[in-house]
Amino acid sequence: MSKTDALDENVIQGEWHVRYNYAVGKVAGHFFAGLKQKKILAAHCSKSGIAYLPPRAYCEKSFEPCDGWKEVGHEGVIEAATIVTAQFENLPPPPYAIAYVKLDGAGTALVNFVRGLDLSDVPAAAAKLKPGTRVKVKFADKPVGRITDFHYELAGKK
C-alpha cells in the first residue's frame, strides 16, 4: 500500500514480468460457454446432490465425478461481503464491494462484485450487505465467456 521506495544507492531495483497462457480445460470451458448464453451452470453430483460453483470435475463429498450440469437462478443470498476503501497495487480503484453469494439452486457460494450501491458511507453500505440479503445477477450485454461477464446487484434495485 505504500509508495515505492525512493531510489537509493543501497537498494537494487527489480521487477518480474512473466507471461502465461492458462489452459481452460473441459469443465471451465463448459461453464464459460454457458456464460456466453447468460446461463450460470453448476457442476452437479447426483450422488451427493451438490451443485458446485465454481464447477469442478469431482464431487468433494461423494468422491464421484460430477455427472451433470444444473443451471442455477439469477438471484441468491449474500453469505459474506466486504467494502474495500483502500487502493491495492494492481487491483481496482476503490471503493468497491465484494460478496460471496449462494445463487438459488447452487450448493456453494460464488464470489463477485456487488455494484450499484452507494459506498460513500461504509458502515451504512455494510448494513445493506449483511448475510441473508438477496441479490440478483446482472449480465453484460455481450458476454464473452468469462467470469467477469456478470456481477451482483441488490435484488430490490431496478
Binding site: 471451465a28 465454481p54 459474506a80 474495500v84 487491483l91 468497491y96 457460494a109 464470489v111 448475510p131 467470469i147
Partner: protein, 400 residues
C-alpha cells in the same frame, strides 16, 4: 503415535521490522540459525537435517530463495527441504522438523527461515496472485479482503462489534512492548484503532498486521539429546494440521460440516493435538496461546475453535480481560501476528514464542507457571491450519 519424543532445545529470532537495510535475505537466515544453535549449545556438525520455512518468494523477490540459503544455514552435505503452506508455512515447517525426529530418522534438526515482506511495495498485489485465473482472481481477493469477508460473516452471526476487535489491537500492541523482537508496539486506544483509515470493512488500518522482515529458527531433538544439551527443554507433545478446499464459498454452512468464519479447521486440529498431549481441559491445562492472528478478528473464532470458550463467546471473554497476560489464559503475550508478520516464518515465531514461555526464557513477557502452551498457524484461503502443543514435561514421561 510418535516413535520418539521430540523437544525444542534452542530458539533464535532476529528483531522484526519493515526493512533490514544492513543485511540481505540469506544473512538474516544465517543469523537465526546461529542464534538457535548457540542457544541449544550445538554446532552445525550436530545437525542431522534442515527444514527451511518459506512461503511465497515473490515478496522478497528471489524465486525459490531456499536455494540461495542452503550453505548460509550450514546445510551443505545434509538433507534439506523447504516447506510452504502460505501463512501456515512456519507451523508446517516446525511440524516437518518434528516428524523428522519423531520418526527416529534424525536426532537433531534445524528448522529455519526468513522473510522480507516489504521488499515489494504492496504485498497484497502478490497475495491476489494466489487465486485461480478462472473463477476468483478477478474479484480483488487478497488476504485482507478474504479475511474481512470472514469477519463480516462472523460479526453478523455472533453480534460482534468493531470496537471489540479494536480492543484486541490495544491489548496486542501493549503486550508487544515487552517483546524486544516485535515490530509494532505501543500504548494505543480503541479510538486510535477506530479512527485509523478504513481499508476493507470491518478493517481499519490498525486492525491489520505490518509487513515484517526478519528471521527465526529452532533446534529440535530427541529426548536423549535434549537431556544432554538442555536443562529445561520445551517438549513437543502434540502436532496436528487440517486442510480445507481452496474455495471459501464451499465453507459457508451450505453443505460442508465446516464454517469459514469460525476458523473451524482448528476445531478438528486442536482436538487431535490435545488428545496427543493429554489435554482434556484446555482452559485449566494451557497457560499461553500464541495465535496466528494477522488481523484483529482472528482471536475470537480461533480461541473458540481451540476450545477455550463456546462459539460466539470470544468477544466477551476478551472484553472481560480473560485473555490478558494475568487472565485466564495469556493470549499472544508476544503481541502476536497482529504486531509482527514475517509471513514465511510467522508460524515458526509462534512456536518459538510458545516454546520460550515453557522454557522460562521469555523475559519481560514471561507468564508465570507455564506448563503448556499452544501455537497455531493459518495459510492459504483460511485453508491450512496447524496446531502444536509445547509442554514442560514429555507426554509419555522421561523414561518412555
Amino acid at each position: 503415535m510418535a516413535k520418539h519424543q521430540v523437544a525444542v532445545i534452542g530458539t533464535g529470532q532476529t528483531k522484526f521490522k519493515t526493512h533490514f537495510p544492513d543485511k540481505n535475505y540469506v544473512e538474516l537466515t544465517q543469523d537465526a540459525a546461529k542464534l538457535a544453535m548457540d542457544d541449544a549449545g550445538v554446532t552445525p556438525d550436530d545437525i542431522d537435517a534442515i527444514v527451511f520455512s518459506m512461503a511465497p518468494t515473490q515478496f522478497m523477490g528471489v524465486n525459490d530463495c531456499d536455494r540461495w540459503a542452503t550453505s548460509h544455514v550450514w546445510g551443505t552435505g545434509k538433507p534439506f527441504m523447504r516447506v510452504h503452506t502460505g501463512g501456515a508455512t512456519g507451523g508446517s515447517a516446525f511440524q516437518a522438523g518434528y516428524f523428522h525426529v519423531a520418526s527416529g530418522v534424525y536426532r537433531t534438526v534445524l528448522v529455519v527461515g526468513a522473510d522480507r515482506v516489504a521488499e515489494t511495495p504492496d504485498a497484497q498485489h502478490v497475495l491476489n496472485l494466489i487465486w485461480d485465473r478462472f473463477y476468483e482472481h478477478d474479484f480483488a481477493l487478497n488476504t485482507v479482503t478474504m479475511t474481512a469477508l470472514a469477519a463480516q460473516r462472523y460479526m453478523h452471526r455472533y453480534g460482534t462489534t468493531e470496537e471489540q476487535f479494536a480492543r484486541v489491537v490495544v491489548r496486542s500492541r501493549g503486550n508487544a512492548m515487552g517483546n524486544p523482537y516485535a515490530h509494532l508496539k505501543g500504548k494505543i486506544t480503541v479510538d486510535d484503532v477506530m479512527n485509523s483509515p478504513r481499508v476493507s470493512y470491518p478493517y481499519k488500518r490498525f486492525d491489520i498486521c505490518p509487513r515484517s522482515s526478519g528471521a527465526a529458527a529452532v533446534v529440535l531433538s530427541n529426548l536423549a539429546v535434549a537431556e544432554e544439551k538442555c536443562t529445561r527443554p520445551a517438549f513437543v507433545n502434540g502436532v496436528s494440521s487440517i486442510t480445507h478446499s481452496v474455495f471459501m464459498g464451499d465453507r459457508m454452512g451450505l453443505w460442508s460440516e465446516t464454517d469459514f468464519e469460525d476458523h473451524d479447521g482448528f476445531y478438528l486440529a486442536a482436538r487431535d493435538c490435545y488428545r496427543q498431549a493429554g489435554i482434556t481441559d484446555p482452559v485449566k491445562q494451557i497457560q499461553v496461546a500464541e495465535l496466528y492472528d494477522p488481523f484483529s478478528t482472528f482471536q475470537f473464532p480461533q480461541m473458540e475453535s481451540l476450545g477455550f470458550c463456546g462459539r460466539g463467546e470470544g468477544a466477551s471473554k476478551s472484553d472481560e480481560g480473560a485473555w490478558n497476560l494475568d487472565g485466564e489464559i495469556a493470549v499472544c503475550p508476544s503481541g502476536g501476528t497482529l504486531c509482527t508478520n514475517p509471513i514465511g516464518v510467522t508460524g515458526l515465531v509462534r512456536a518459538i514464542d510458545a516454546a520460550n514461555q515453557v522454557m522460562g526464557k521469555s523475559g519481560d513477557i514471561q507468564v508465570k507457571g507455564v506448563k503448556n502452551a499452544v501455537a497455531t498457524a493459518i495459510g492459504g484461503s483460511t485453508q491450512f491450519f496447524t496446531c502444536s502443543i509445547l509442554g514442560d514435561e514429555p507426554v509419555a514421561g522421561r523414561n518412555a
